[in-house]
Symmetry: C2
Subunit: 193 residues, 2 copies
């Protein structure tokens, strides 16, 4: 097991309905040392890529994305989930359906911050059915930017998101892929990588 | 001018209606080096405080809060703006009215992550009428935690939030306090600190 799988096995909590709670260290309370380690690991995995910007989506991916961007020495841009009166001018928009919240959001990024010259590393904490990532890819494509890769902390391997995105030809790296979970026994099976 | 005031003067954009856009470096696209410098500056300003956790609210404060937490060597907790099906169990709740989005949000923090033993440094990117900060203070008080201080990147000094929170006796430090702005001339006046 790698460092993240070990942490999930230790502190993750399996709930009925295939819910994996990692809110004590990853997406509500954040262990900063772990986020830094995630940043270093993605730098190692995408070391040969010419990354000019890290792209994520609010909110729980922002911490991780900051430390990935720090490793690459590039800015981080996060997509916003609803139109704010403080975002004016032209923006890229994608419609994203959330698995967690069971609703649809417009995801927006100001056109100022993504250009055809950009080479993006897309980062998020969770990948399940992949709608958020598809929205970010759609925005990147609209901007004419190059998607160099996608880095995910935890992928639910039993949902279709990862397969869809890999089938589309993208370099998707998930630090931990959950193959199955058992809420009664509290056990988590990771995919061998 | 300090480093943040200089950056705002250089890259901030003043819009009619007292809107200050800093989305090219602080709250949409993020300059990671600047966030690190903000983290170091808050560590310097609150060096004598026994901080056990950094508390912020999603989404744009999360990046800053991560780097502040890194400096103090403590975890960061961010309050969430709407009930998620992935947050179960007991939580602290505050009602917060957003100046930017002109709507009300329930702000929630899981009770697991704030205790009477916690000494909190509350961090956010913007302070205007102070509703978000009041919500975070309310949650901290509900938990019986001690608020050691509040660190803000940009305070709109012509709105009441800062005065209210200082009048309540809290140690509120804002790196840049905007006294007035002129959208036509594009000028920004900072308060002498």
């Amino acid at each position: 097991m790698n460092f993240l799988e070990e942490r999930i096995a230790k502190d993750g909590i399996v709930k009925p309905g295939n819910v994996l709670k990692v809110d004590s260290f990853l997406n509500h309370q954040m262990d900063i040392g772990l986020l830094e380690e995630i940043g270093r690991e993605f730098k190692r995995r995408f070391a040969d890529k010419n990354v000019t910007k890290v792209l994520t989506i609010e909110a729980s991916g922002i911490g991780m994305a900051c430390f990935v961007a720090k490793e690459f020495g590039v800015p981080m841009v996060f997509a916003k989930k609803s139109k704010s009166i403080n975002i004016d001018g032209e923006m890229y928009v994608a419609e994203v359906e959330s698995f967690t919240h069971k609703n649809k959001n417009q995801v927006i990024v100001s056109k100022k911050f993504l250009t055809p010259e950009d080479h993006l590393l897309i980062i998020d904490d969770f990948l399940a059915n992949g709608c958020a990532l598809q929205g970010l890819i759609s925005i990147a494509e609209s901007a004419g930017a190059t998607v160099e890769g996608l880095g995910i902390a935890i992928e639910k391997g039993f949902q279709i998101g990862g397969r869809v995105i890999r089938n589309l030809g993208y370099d998707l790296q998930s630090l931990a892929i959950v193959e199955s979970m058992d809420a009664e026994k509290g056990t988590i099976q990771f995919r061998e990588q």
